[in-house]
């Protein structure tokens, strides 16, 4: 063995070491990521429920979800989280970053205040917000409303308000990350651009529209994708803010991931759950591909 090794060229020796070092990570990625991806794809074509052997049933699970009103409700809920949450969080975080960038005094400290919610345990913060939404005399939001002379709101108990009530902490938690990335993007714009514009007497609004926003395009695209993926995968907050983690009332807050969780690990309908994870995967893949396309065109 040793004689064989010493007879190798430098390049061959390197290859030997490369494969030795990579062996375990590579085994891990194949066994824990790549093989399971194929396995889920296969399970999605079976009627497996953990109790009896799998039967191959072709596209039956996909046909079933196509005709399943709960699936469509859940699918639409998931997109509501995305379509409302993503624009609001991007506009808010851009506004904060844009103005914070102009501030010098205690800038780092203020940035930290915005960033802290991003790092904390989502499950814990969901309970804090759930408490905020309680009726008088427990919940602070209703106390404030009543103090100001408005009527109490049902928030999490209402089919029309619950989704927005869960979205608020989701936006709150992700805001700081976006502010930090936007700030970094803003600082990467050379000061000379602004100086030139100022010498030309260009107004603040025009500078924002003609210089800042176009130059931030890669940053904005990156954040659109990251926050879209975050909202499409929402789970912890809904699980902890709805009664028994069911995504109620009447499934109005239930997102795709929660539906998959319930199907797979409460009802053990593995085949049907797997088919729904495939849908989630394809949606996430589409979002990423669109980003790569958009980045390439510029």
């Amino acid at each position: 063995m040793r004689a064989w090794y010493h007879a190798r060229t430098v390049g061959q020796k390197q290859a030997v070491w490369a494969w030795i070092f990579l062996a375990l990570p590579l085994f891990f990625f194949i066994a824990i990521r790549l093989f399971p991806t194929g396995y889920t794809t296969y399970v999605s074509l079976t009627d497996w429920n953990l109790l009896r052997p799998k039967n191959f049933i072709g596209a039956a699970n996909y046909l079933r979800l196509w005709n399943d009103p709960i699936f469509w409700q859940v699918f639409w809920n998931t997109f509501k989280y995305l379509l409302i949450g993503m624009p609001i969080s991007l506009v808010l975080s851009f506004l904060v970053a844009y103005y914070l960038d102009q501030v010098r005094f205690l800038q780092g400290t203020i940035r930290a205040l915005y960033f802290i919610p991003f790092l904390t345990t989502a499950a814990a913060m969901a309970w804090v917000w759930r408490w905020f939404y309680q009726p008088v005399p427990i919940g602070i939001f209703n106390l404030i409303l009543v103090d100001l002379g408005f009527s109490q709101q049902p928030f999490l108990r209402s089919t029309s308000q619950a989704l927005g009530s869960i979205l608020a902490p989701a936006i709150w938690a992700g805001l700081g990350f976006q502010v930090v990335i936007f700030l970094a993007g803003l600082r990467a714009i050379p000061e000379t651009y602004y100086e030139a514009a100022r010498i030309d007497g260009v107004g603040r609004w025009t500078i924002l529209k003609e210089i800042t926003l176009p130059l931030l395009r890669p940053t904005i695209l990156f954040l659109v994708v990251v926050s879209s993926i975050g909202f499409l995968r929402i789970f912890d907050k809904v699980y902890n803010m709805t009664v028994d983690g069911k995504g109620g009332p009447l499934n109005t807050t239930r997102p795709l991931v929660l539906n998959i969780y319930q199907l797979a690990f409460t009802d053990y309908r593995m085949g049907y759950a797997a088919a729904q994870t495939m849908v989630l995967f394809l949606v996430l893949l589409a979002v990423t591909v669109v980003q790569l396309r958009a980045l390439r065109t510029k």
């Binding site: 390197q14 290859a15 070491w17 490369a18 494969w19 070092f21 990579l22 375990l24 990570p25 891990f28 824990i32 990521r33 790549l34 399971p36 399970v43 103005y99 914070l100 102009q102 501030v103 010098r104 005094f105 203020i110 930290a112 205040l113 915005y114 960033f115 802290i116 919610p117 904390t120 345990t121 989502a122 499950a123 814990a124 913060m125 309970w127 804090v128 917000w129 408490w131 905020f132 309680q134 427990i138 602070i140 902490p169 709150w172 805001l175 930090v180 990335i181 970094a184 993007g185 990156f222 912890d236 699980y239 902890n240 028994d244 991931v257 969780y261 690990f265 593995m270 994870t277 989630l280």
Partner: protein
């Protein structure tokens, strides 16, 4: 003055500063209410003032004595620590090899690892569950940990950072007769400590806050992690909000401490991995 303005004389700047700072204070109000309520006795819960009239640690004493929070805390801490050590070692080793070695198949391996970044956890939990069931890993530490022992993100991050280590340095070490592993361990690795610290913080926090997989794989309450334990505990204590806030505070305070101590590294890490990745 920077950019030629004097903050004491520019009313626009003062207004901006005030609004941005107020927004920042609003952002941390949930933490303030959480901690303040965790220090309030049963009688004071409905009093929403921020500074408790009679601060007490009785909620914490109760939580530590009568519930399994201490156990959950130790579970989460051990799992996060072991995962972090494993991720640091294997991700940097794989990143180093993919960056510094030239061999047939390198590109294929890199693309394979990179492609795993596209696969969401949600798609993998069913096979992981089946695997754990067959191997007897359900409801064990290893069952909670195994999916996160090596991460594609970390391999990618470390590969990027090893680009900053000059090849000449590695070649010199090789000529000096240093073994391949010792070149990695003693020459290259010390030069990428900023990346390692960022990766360590993210891995630890990611493991500490993880919810979906621990919820699926644990069964008996003594194996819960903090977030899963908190969810089940809060469901039971559903009306005792001071206890729930105490539990939430116990789950959150470690992340706040980590942030306050390592703020600089965390923000820098977010920017490096966010903007470049």
């Amino acid at each position: 003055m920077i950019f030629g303005f004097d903050p004491s004389r520019d009313p626009r700047k003062i207004l901006i500063w005030t609004l941005v700072a107020l927004g920042g204070l609003v952002m941390i109000m949930p933490f303030a209410f959480m901690i303040s309520t965790s220090l309030k006795g049963r009688g004071e819960v409905y009093d929403l003032r921020l500074v408790p009239l009679a601060p007490t640690l009785e909620n914490y004493t109760y939580l530590f004595r009568e519930t399994k929070f201490v156990r959950w805390f130790l579970n989460s801490f051990s799992i996060a620590s072991i995962s972090t050590i494993s991720v640091l070692f294997f991700d940097s080793l794989a990143g180093y090899v993919l960056c510094k070695y030239r061999f047939k198949g390198r590109q294929v391996v890199f693309v394979a690892i990179l492609s795993t970044l596209m696969i969401p956890t949600e798609m993998l939990v069913i096979p992981w569950y089946v695997m754990s069931k067959n191997m007897g890993w359900l409801d064990t530490y290893w069952g909670i940990m195994f999916p996160g022992m090596i991460t594609g993100f970390g391999v990618f991050l470390m590969k990027q950072f090893f680009e900053t280590v000059p090849d000449a340095l590695i070649d010199a070490a090789r000529i000096d007769g240093l073994g391949e592993f010792r070149i990695f361990w003693e020459v290259a690795l010390p030069l990428v400590t900023p990346a390692l610290s960022a990766l360590a913080i993210f891995t630890f926090l990611g493991s500490w806050t993880a919810f979906l997989w621990p919820l699926i794989v644990t069964n008996s309450s003594s194996n819960y992690t903090v977030p899963v334990g908190l969810a089940s505990f809060s469901g039971e204590f559903s009306t005792e909000w001071n206890m729930i806030m105490t539990g939430a505070a116990v789950a959150t305070i470690p992340t706040l401490v980590v942030f306050i101590l390592l703020q600089k590294y965390i923000i820098r890490g977010v920017i490096l991995s966010g903007v470049k990745g």
